[in-house]
Every structure is written in structure tokens, then in C-alpha cells.
Amino acid sequence: MLLAYDPATNPLNTTEWAFPFFECIHIASFAMSVGTIALVDLRLLGLGIRHQTAAQLVKDTMLWTLAGLIIVITSGLVIFTSDPLRYYYNPSFRFKVICLLIAIVYNYTIHRKVAMSKAPPFANILVGGISLLLWVSIVFAGLFYAFT
């Protein structure tokens, strides 16, 4: 099945505007998902946001984070179909997928749990820092794909 698929027939590769269009959707939606998670992270790190608890911020951003993640992954899968084998064998892409899986699981387990509870400051800083680092690594890996 997979072998029978010829990317050259994919509308992404035959329509001039299609590929950049999905890239724009991908970038805007990662701004939405990563940006809302970063808002919680900045609170956990104690940087800038003080009037709201991390728990309030999680509740306020939850739906937007989820919507962003769904759109970013869907647009990512569409982009992936433009050249599946190239992506599959690319080390940056593999690193990105692994980080993404870890980041999603982390976000809905440890990150959520710590943000929703009254954790000691060092736990907040650790959890918020790891979260930011994970999401930024995914952005880096996504970009480095184009250069490797």
C-alpha cells in the first residue's frame, strides 16, 4: 500500500499554494498550543504572572491548548504526506516525533498535576522549565528537518 503511494500525485506537491498554506496553519496553531502552555509555564516559573494561580490558568487555557494541538498535529500529518519516506528517515523528524509524544504525555500528566496542586516552588520551576524546554525543542527539530 505504502509503496504504491507516489508523493508526486499529492496535491500538496502539485498545487503551488497548498504546502505553504498548511505550513502557515501549522505555525499559527503551534503558537496557540505552545503559547497557552507557556503561559502556565511562566506562572510555574514565577515569571511575570502572579494574579492567577497555575490551576486557574490551566482551566482558562485548556480548550485552546487542546484545539491548538489537534490543529497542529492534523496540519503536521498533512505536511508529512508530501514526502513520507523523506520524513520517516530523517533524524530531526524522528527526534521531533519522540519529543512530541513525550511532551503531550507530560503535559497531561505531570505538568497538569503539578499546575493543579499547590506544589513547592522548586517543583513548579522544574516542571515549568522542562515543559518549555520540551516544546521549544520540538520547534527546533521541526525547523532543523529542512536543513538536514
Binding site: P7, A8, N10, L12, N13, E16, F19, P20, E23, C24, I27, A28, F30, A31, M32, S33, V34, G35, T36, A38, L39, L42, L47, G48, I49, R50, H51, Q52, Q56, L57, K59, D60, T61, W64, S82, D83, L85, R86, L132, W135, V136, V139, F140, G142, L143, F144, A146, F147
Partner: protein, 185 residues
Amino acid sequence: MSPAEFSQWVSGLDLFTSLRESALAYPVIMSLHLSSIAVFGGLILMTDLRLLGLAMPNMTVSDIIAQTRIWKRIGFVVMITCGVLLGGAKLDKYYDNPYFQLKLLFLLLVGVHAIVFHRSVYGNAAELDRAPAIPAIAKTAACLSLVLWISILSFGRWIAYYERPGERGAPVTSAQPVNRVSPAQ
């Protein structure tokens, strides 16, 4: 000095030449540019959605504006610094690129937007908190901000796909996004 000569002079500067030729620095700066979009663009988006009354109900308008301001400023500086480095390194290729020109124009409009709406919206947040409903001027500011930033993002992406008339089929360099199907697949 014509625009073409000027841009060739800029991209020929030592800093930009070494940046363009560096296999690591160029993608790292591009990644930083995108990371600042992720973190700080996200904050702009949430502020706009709050002004539209669509998100962040536990945060007052003045809370979200005041508490994210410093991060938006830092993000803006990082984003612009990286953007200048990326643009400068290829100014000779970009100066007559219509998407590049539109992006610069819209960035100017962001400045105009900030000046126009400062008194009524962004510098007037305490007043907005007291208002029974978010006034139309604040919603207008939020909508325009969304349109401006989404346009800037899209023009930015489209810069890489523009080819000067007559230069079609120019060899794809590693710094250009790779989306063409390689014939050998």
C-alpha cells in the same frame, strides 16, 4: 545607490556572509525566530481572544495586558533581532520579493496599531475592566491585531516560495524549505 546595490552591500557584510554560510547559526536563528512566535505570538493571540471575550475568563483585561507585557516585549525584541539577521543575510535575494515587502509594511502597521489603540485600549485596561461589556473599540483592536499578525506570519512563510521572474528552477539551497519531491523517490 539603487535598492539592488544597497541590499547586495548589506548581505555582503561580514556578519551576514558568515551567518549565511554557517550550517548551524542560520537554522538556529530561524528556530529562535519560530520559538519566539510560539511563545510570544501565543501570548498576543490569547490577549486578543481575551479582548474579544472568547478566552481567559479568570483574567481581567488589565491582568492579561499587564502580566504578559514584559514577555511580549522580550519576545518582540528576540523575534525582530532574529528577523533582521535572517533578512539581512539574504537581503540581496529578498529586497524585491513582494512577500518580504508586504511583511515589512505590515510590521509597520503593527506600530501604527499600537499607537492608534494605546490610549483607548492597551493603556486603558483598568477602564475596560470596569466597563459592563468589552467596548467595540477594544474588539476592533483585537481583530485588527489578529489579522495583522496572521498576515505577517503568512507573508513570512511565503517569502521562501517566491522566485524572481526568469529565475524559475534555480537550484534549491539547503536554507530553503525542502518540499519538492525528489525525482529519485
